[in-house]
């Protein structure tokens, strides 16, 4: 049975070696570092830790080649990206207002008999908006996937076959952090979800985020002010019912209990899990087999230790 190991940023604490020791079979290890974009090939640091032959899947580079040579595919891709961007823009307009209302209600004082139903309803409206957004995104992907299936671009088909061949010789795949949108985009282009699900996966930060059923972007401390967490895309759906939050130490304002509580309640029943540097979550057979340094956001806005279950 494949095991999935999800880690926080590999800086300052490097703990990639710990899960690798548990799955190492002496064979080559595949690496997906498309999130690093044009620095994709800089995997020497990974090699130094795992000390096994690495097979660089070069998804970023392959995508550049495929999209460069397949004009029709490029057109479909561009159209999909335009639609996704517009969808995100419209969602963001609604999100801002609805989050503002929800936060105000959660901060309000008053008769619980009157206030609490309003708070619950505000959160359910937020969930409905997130759900609707995710459905719209899925529909856009569906349209693009159908169009791509119709085109059957030969270069893409060749690369998919080549990647499948390479992966057949590896039992473990490492997925690095980086730009989560680029990473997810490349994984989706080469239809890697089902193939990866059969492997042991060690993934950190953005790599962990894309394994969930939805990808949520967040950062409370951007220089131009607070932004509300956004549902960004459908993930690969390999580790479901979790929202992975890398580097919470730097990205979330945990002193604001209302904000944190709303984050938790908004995405329930999914569990929001922190992945700070040094943390490790082992997921296997549909359960959390072990968790070290991983915390979950609670309904009261505090962090609780995540335990195996």
């Amino acid at each position: 049975m494949a095991g999935y190991f999800l880690l926080g940023p590999q800086r300052p604490v490097v703990n990639l070696a710990t899960p690798f020791g548990a799955v190492d079979d002496g064979r080559s290890v595949a690496v997906v570092s498309a999130g690093w974009q044009d620095a994709e090939a800089d995997i020497d640091d990974v090699h130094e830790i795992v000390k096994r032959p690495l097979v660089d899947l070069r998804l970023y580079q392959r995508a550049e080649a495929v999209l460069g040579s397949e004009a029709r595919l490029r057109e479909v891709y561009r159209e999909r990206q335009d639609r996704l961007q517009e969808q995100q823009r419209l969602y963001r307009l609604r999100l801002r207002q609805s989050m503002l209302a929800a936060r105000r209600l959660l901060r309000a004082d008053g008769d619980p008999a009157i206030l609490e139903p309003e708070q619950r309803h505000a959160i359910s409206q937020q969930r409905a908006l997130d759900r609707h957004h995710l459905q719209r995104i899925s529909a856009i992907h569906g349209d693009a996937d159908s169009a791509i299936a119709d085109i059957r671009p030969p270069t893409l088909t060749e690369h998919i076959a080549e990647i499948a061949d390479v992966l057949s010789g590896c039992v473990t795949v490492i997925i690095t952090g980086g730009n989560v949108a680029v990473l997810l985009n490349r994984l989706r282009l080469f239809s890697l979800g089902p193939l990866l699900a059969q492997k042991n996966i060690i993934a950190w930060s953005a790599g962990a985020m894309v394994l969930a059923d939805k990808v949520v972007l967040f950062h409370d401390n951007t220089p131009q002010g607070n932004r509300d967490a956004e549902v960004f895309d459908v993930g690969l759906g390999i580790v479901n019912d979790f929202v992975f939050l890398p580097d919470v130490k730097h990205r979330l304002d945990l002193s604001d209990k209302v904000r944190t509580a709303l984050f938790c309640r908004r995405f329930a029943p999914a569990t929001c899990l922190t992945l700070d540097s040094g943390s490790l979550l082992h997921y296997e057979g549909g359960h959390v087999a072990a968790a070290h340094g991983v915390r979950r956001l609670s309904r009261t806005g505090t962090l609780r230790r995540m335990r195996a279950r």
Partner: protein, 378 residues
């Protein structure tokens, strides 16, 4: 009177030991909300608080606390303010400007150092201080053969950590670059903001003029130097994104004038400007009152106000509200907006100094050159 001082003198003049104890246990200046009390200990005929900020007299007398060698003055300072000051101690015919001996917080500039008063709720931003987790970029020195000035000049170049020749980077050219490095912690700020992904990895060219008051004052030769000497050399030596939106020009005080002037004279070269406390003096009628060194600045600004036509896409401007230039800076904003330029203007409770400019770098750089922080999870 400040409560701590009042307590000290409540039973009459305190003894030397009591004063010793008081000065060694308090943090000076004494900040009590928005009341700030400056304290000097020593002998003299008179002591003045000297701070060069608009709105306050440049010399305000401290009052001696009877029976002691302590002198004090309380001023109102709005929260989050930061001001620089010295004491002027008068002994007979002698007047001496000294740093506050009771305050270790100093700010440096090309003319020396000043004591710093950090008002209520002012906090030095953490991203201006070295962070052990941050990967450090590097500095190297290159020489430019300037056709504009017919001489060789040095440029210090900042390269980000993990610089790769096969990637392309935005370029920011900084006037008074070495001063920004020394007095505004520019390298630390760049390292931190890049590490935090708040700005993209970038290359920064730091220039320094041997005669800034002339060359930065709307001087065509200097603009030519930037556009025809510095930028082409940088493009030749480093992998740059060769487009205006990825080319920034930055400066403070007269350096801000130089940046605005070069972008105006050579439209389409620099798409991003970062202008800090620009010395944008102008005259609507009659002569200006700022002295002869401003004559060429005023000529340029008057011309600019008549024919703005600037082609930068985004400009970040900031100015301290405790500096007289706030009026000129404020008046420039609507003019630039009328050109369709995307402007962000910020005012700070600070004056004309390097730490004011340091504290605004994050907002300015990240607005002009937004980093991938929202999308990248390393």
């Amino acid at each position: 009177m400040n409560p701590a001082l009042r307590k000290l003198v409540r039973k009459g003049a305190p003894g030397a030991a009591e004063v010793d104890n008081f000065v060694s246990n308090a943090t000076f200046p004494l900040v009590d909300g928005t009341d700030v009390t400056f304290v000097y200990r020593g002998i003299g005929d008179a002591v003045y608080l000297r701070c060069w900020i608009a709105g306050l007299n440049t010399a305000q007398p401290l009052q001696r606390l009877e029976g002691t060698d302590l002198w004090a003055i309380t001023i109102e300072l709005p929260e989050k303010s930061r001001i620089e000051y010295k004491f002027e101690v008068v002994n007979g015919d002698q007047r001496e400007l000294v740093l506050d001996p009771l305050n270790d917080v100093l700010a440096h500039d090309p003319f020396g150092a000043n004591s710093v008063c950090q008002g209520y709720r002012y906090k030095r931003p953490v991203w201006t201080e070295q962070d052990d987790e941050t990967r450090a970029g590097s500095l190297e020195r290159i020489e430019v053969e300037s056709k504009a000035f017919r001489e060789r000049r040095d440029i210090q170049v900042y390269l980000p950590a993990r610089f790769r020749k096969n990637r392309r980077y935005p370029l920011v050219v900084v006037h008074d670059g070495p001063d920004y490095l020394r007095f505004a912690a520019l390298k630390t700020v760049l390292d931190n903001l890049i590490h935090r992904l708040e700005i993209p990895q970038m290359i920064v060219a730091m220039t320094q003029s041997p005669d800034r008051l002339t060359e930065y004052a709307g001087n065509d030769a200097h603009a030519k130097y930037l556009v025809n000497d510095v930028v082409p050399l940088m493009a030749d030596k480093y992998p740059l994104i060769d487009e205006p939106h990825a080319r920034g020009l930055m400066g403070a005080s007269f350096g801000g004038v130089a940046a605005l002037h070069a972008a105006w004279l050579h439209p389409g070269v620099f798409g991003r400007l970062l202008l800090q406390s620009g010395s944008f003096a102008f005259s609507d009628l009659g002569a200006h009152q700022r002295g002869p060194v401003f004559d060429p600045v005023v000529r340029f600004m008057n011309e600019f106000r008549k024919n703005p036509g600037l082609q930068a896409e985004k400009i970040y401007m900031c100015c301290g509200i405790y500096e007289s230039l706030i009026y000129e800076n404020r008046s420039l904003v609507p003019q630039l907006q009328a050109q369709g330029i995307n402007i962000k203007f910020e005012e700070a409770r600070d004056a004309h100094n390097w730490e004011n400019w340091r504290d605004r770098l994050r907002n300015g750089l990240s607005w002009l050159f937004p980093g991938p922080v929202w999308m990248v999870y390393e």
